[in-house]
Symmetry: C2
Subunit: 320 residues, 2 copies
């Protein structure tokens, strides 16, 4: 059994690689829900959907999120209402783009949650609808909200207001996961970590993607208890994130935006760090932080590279 | 000032005629909300939307409901989830078709209601968004639900389950408006009736479209108090409804499905009934029920016929 702690795009791509090298029925993804957001009354779970759509081969490969062949009629029609929305209302916001087909997923999730289903149950239904064989678990069924304090505006915002509305082009001086103290791991999460042959920390943002997963009470300890079998993949390559603000966020929060910084963050919970060939020269520095360092190509241009990285990760975990 | 008690398609067409013959700013529509339904967690107000879209010249002219040039991507995508919906869940029902652009209206309405806005407020915002100059009021801001008891199934269902899901192809032996006893007329409704030069009862279903409007406490009395200035247009022509089940419903509930049956139903509240030329021979029978009878073409094939009927109706009300 293989368990992957997952954020969005990078994690989804690695998972798409792993299903090529292990039986998907042996694979569990534990996915960040700190980015979840309610817009238009809809419960939107961006990371869960990115994982689902990617594994279903239905993802928009160009953007890395949303559905392939998507249309945007509802969003276009919402703009009409944004113009009449009274002050103080958050109806008809148009800064978060929702495709027409994607909206069906949010309608289904929102309706099922309103019927009393847990996010775990709904996620199992959604992944079944897409024909996935791996198990996808939200990190928790409880509400945890990643909140970022913006240095210049001096306000705290939700993840999507930072990431999408402000295009992560603003400095952050603090991050917290609101509600996480009271959250419980979703059913199966601790067992999936405890019973895995290899636990993988996907190449996702360590602060806002993996951070919330590890912050759910009990998860960090469960992962740390398997440290020798935990393999992290660095989302930082040659000092930069392939996508998104991981490098800037790390720097803003006092972490070194490099594989060494990643190693410092993960050393307490992971025994091995996979770094890109571009960072081969830093392997010694990574090992100095107390982690084994495996150097391999980590940029997943497509399925073959993803499968190869999946093989490297599993090999590293099983060899440990 | 002109006030129109309105259901869906027939009322919307008459309103589209009236705005050609009076200043829309002098026109108020009081619209049935007994057909409102929650599906996918969305608050859907079919009659309000049919009136709005028709007056905005955005209606699908072929169906009489929904938006012109509509697409159906969300509904198509929901079908995937209908297949995994657990027993007892009502998520992802696909018998009620919602267009992608139309969904934007429902998202906006639902969100605004959740923010605490009244249906009146939201309706004013929606009609403003569509550039309408007439005033559109829901009959009430409270929840009233038209419920039909099905003779053969022996169960009670909501209006849309009867009208859309069963295509009104089943016999009904009772109708009630759940919640109406506690409902209050929406702000402005009683004033619009009391202060109107002419009150028009649109050619809508007398039982399930006009019935709920008149059943809101205070409305029937307010209309009856203006009886001499109230002009109803018969939705029954030569014993049949142009559209929908009005004729069958009337017969099933013991009313004569003819202009005479309509006259019997409306005589307590309306002084004049406009009947189609096809029913000219029944004018005497209508007058025997205590209503003035005006014979005119009532089939609104397009804007010219609708405008002409609007003129007839206003003339009849003002002459009374």
């Amino acid at each position: 059994m293989i368990t992957v702690l997952a954020g969005g795009v990078g994690a989804a791509r690695l998972l798409a690689g792993l299903v090529q090298v292990v039986d998907p029925a042996e694979l569990t993804a534990v996915v960040n829900t700190g980015d979840d957001v309610r817009l238009h009354g809809l419960h939107i779970s961006p990371d869960l959907d990115t994982v689902t759509y990617t594994l279903a081969r239905a993802i928009n490969a160009e953007t890395g999120w949303g559905l392939d062949g998507e249309t945007w009629a509802t969003m276009g029609a919402l703009a009409r209402y944004e113009a009449v929305r009274p002050p103080g209302s958050t109806a008809a916001v148009t800064w978060f783009n929702l495709g027409d087909k994607d909206i069906a997923t949010h309608l289904y999730r929102t309706h099922r949650l309103a019927e009393g289903a847990t996010l775990s149950q709904v996620t199992a239904e959604v992944t079944a609808a897409w024909g996935l064989r791996l198990r996808v678990l939200p990190m928790t069924d409880d509400r945890v909200e990643t909140r970022l304090h913006l240095r210049d505006e001096g306000i705290e915002v939700g993840f999507q207001e930072y990431f999408v509305q402000r295009r992560h082009a603003v400095a952050v001086d603090a991050v917290r996961f609101a509600g996480v103290e009271a959250a419980r791991p979703a059913p199966g999460v601790l067992e999936a970590v405890g019973g895995a042959d290899v636990v993988v920390i996907a190449p996702s943002n360590p602060i806002v993607s993996i951070g919330p997963v590890l912050a759910v009470p009990g998860v960090r300890d469960a992962v740390a208890a398997r440290r020798e079998r935990v393999v992290a993949v660095s989302p930082i390559i040659a000092g930069a994130a392939l996508k998104g603000p991981a490098d800037r966020l790390m720097a803003e929060l006092g972490m070194e935006p490099s594989v060494v910084g990643v190693a410092r963050a993960y050393a307490p919970v992971a025994g091995t760090l996979v770094v890109d060939e571009a960072d081969a020269a830093l392997a010694g520095a990574v090992e100095a932080e107390g982690m084994r360092c495996v150097v391999a190509p980590t940029v997943m241009h497509g399925p073959p590279e993803a499968a190869a990285l999946g093989g490297v990760v599993l090999g590293a975990g099983r060899a440990a």
